[in-house]
Subunit: 341 residues, 2 copies
DNA sequence: GGAATTAATGCAAACGCTTGCACTAAGATA
DNA sequence: TATCTTAGTGCAAGCGTTTGCATTAATTCC
């Protein structure tokens, strides 16, 4: 039988209300009784009942995290970031991974519905209208979204500045390495991150006055195999690009494979640029030139935002931009002498 | 204001007990009223209150997952496995990652204590006596451990057969590739997985009548840098090994780096064997010969075991062994003609 | 020294739900 | 027709807390 405050009350000869107050550091409790009660609670190995408390306080101190299907260590870092902030705020984190759009919606619903969580962090590659509706309607449970799209003004969202990331690195390699023929392997069609990267890429080319033949834009899937296939297509073109900008590191790794298969060398014969700066990018050789995303930071920011939202009921939707950085590996040409960014 | 069963009761002109029964498919409710109530509940967008239910039913339908600090995609897969089983059993999964031994203990305590979870899955590299005590004492909350050590008979545990995994692959490369000089880079000292792999390795050498000079056993840390450093030491030995068995893939990748730095080739000059069959092992080149661990399976088994335990109160501690497999990459010598396993 | 303040504690309701028991109105049985 | 089942509901207690209000005892003030 678990010990309750009543057990303690009995043993301490006080009402159980007093016990509750003593254990919660209520000011109007004499230090003598507080001490006594704490001691007895300790002896009886008392642990407060989470559900009873939640029931009356109308909060659970749990935040729900809905994750998409992601490969790699994205997950880990995000969770860590969220966990750190959540924990220091006295919250626990519930995780639900979801594999399809439908089950995502369901997860959220079940989370938000049963008043099991105080808030939800929703990490999701694309935001469907259906989802918007769910989030909008159930106005009750606060939601923070982690996504590549910042143009959703009604929601709280932490987004990675994919556009700037792509723009910067492409601009950099053009200015510093004098690349002029750059191809791109896109991510999944409906993926906002993928979309923004593509836009940033195009903008950089345009601003530098470079051409972009259609055949240099290939659809990929953010997976290694997709990168490999896409790269093969590029390599078999008559008008080959000089460097390939893969939508993420995974596909960049796929490029490495394809290039190796073709008996070509990186960056001698062809350059490769990635995006994400995952663990992987430093492992493959040559080390990949890629865009760094502070994933841990993303998790922390999302959690902070949610906690903020939980405190201030009349909090206004907030869009937090996470900036990226350039990681210079060795998968591009040597820097031109006398020219710099 | 969230709708409660009382709201529904009022609207349906029945007692709220009837509502509760109707919504929980109690047999003694006329299908007419059941239908009526379900309809109203739907209209009012009713969602049961998780805490109230948990309070009276004395169960939360949540299982806690305590994770250590791990790099790579171990996490992801385990969570997925656990989540799948848990979900289909009507449970949610709470995650707490922990960074030090102390905070692991604390996480568990806070989980198990506040009757926030029905059970805990504890993934942990080493089991200290302190931890054993915590788990033992608080007999109330069921715990399942994921660990490399099966010799803890009092607990429910899912363990990876590291010994056999190491033994098999070492035995294989000896018999098939005729290696005779094999070095090993160990994992962290107190890590049970690391320990078992080392034992399996030694046993395989012994059974094949091979020598193992002390200088061929290097301490590592399961990280890439550690692997690189350890490998460098091996490469600078006068009596160099022909193949290096790294305690995990990460360190194997470190070996790749060191070997490259020394201007040597794999497997021409020296072979490398890993353990884990992480994503990474297929990425580096040449693809790594390594030991496969069905991580997803581990998660599923752990969750199943826990659910089983939650059902049967008088369930006996169970040790579940997860077997490994050999993945033949290209980081070892060519197979000898006319000789086979 | 009596009134007013303050400190410390108790009382009891409430949170939203489940469930054993009691109750009613049928239909079944004798 | 009187009794017995049985299906369908309602009553009310209880789960373990928190917390506003009431109460008492101690202290302070004039």
């Amino acid at each position: 039988m678990k010990t309750t405050i009543k057990d303690i009350a009995e043993k301490a000869n006080v009402s159980f209300a007093t016990v509750s107050r003593a254990l919660n550091n209520h000011p109007r409790i004499s230090s003598a009784t507080k001490e006594k009660i704490t001691k007895i609670a300790d002896e009886l190995n008392y642990k407060p009942n989470f559900n009873a408390r939640s029931l009356v306080k109308k909060e659970t101190k749990i935040i729900g995290l809905v994750l998409p299907e992601i490969q790699g260590d994205f997950f880990t870092e995000v969770i860590k970031g969220i966990d750190q902030v959540a924990h220091s705020g006295g919250y626990h984190v519930i995780v639900a991974s979801s594999h399809s759009e439908r089950s995502i919606a369901e997860s959220i619903m079940s989370f938000m519905g049963e008043s099991m969580v105080d808030g939800v962090i929703l990490m999701i590659p694309a935001i469907s209208d259906q989802l918007k509706e769910i989030i909008g309607v159930s106005g009750s449970t606060p939601v923070v979204i982690i996504n590549g799209n910042h143009e959703i003004e009604d929601f709280d969202i932490v987004y990675i500045d994919n556009f700037q990331g792509a723009y910067s690195i492409i601009d950099y390699i053009i200015k510093n390495y004098n690349y002029t023929k750059i191809a791109h392997i896109k991510g999944p069609l409906k993926n906002n991150d993928a979309l923004e990267r593509f836009e940033g890429f195009k903008a950089a080319l345009q601003d530098n006055g470079l051409e972009l033949p259609d055949e240099w834009i290939i659809n990929g899937d953010f997976n290694i195999k997709g990168g490999e296939i896409a790269c093969s297509r590029l390599l078999s073109l008559r008008n080959k690009p000089e460097v390939i900008f893969a939508g993420n590191d995974m596909m960049a790794a796929g490029c490495y494979r394809a290039i190796k298969t073709y008996g070509l060398s990186i960056p001698g014969d062809i350059g490769v640029v990635g995006f994400d700066h995952t663990f992987l990018s430093e492992l493959i050789s040559p080390p990949l030139t890629t865009v760094h995303i502070p994933i841990f930071e993303v998790g922390k920011k999302a959690a902070s935002l949610l906690l903020e939202k939980l405190k201030n009921k009349d909090h206004q939707p907030n869009q937090i931009k996470i900036s990226t950085g350039i990681i210079l590996g060795e998968s591009c040409r040597k820097k031109l002498v006398g020219k710099s960014a």
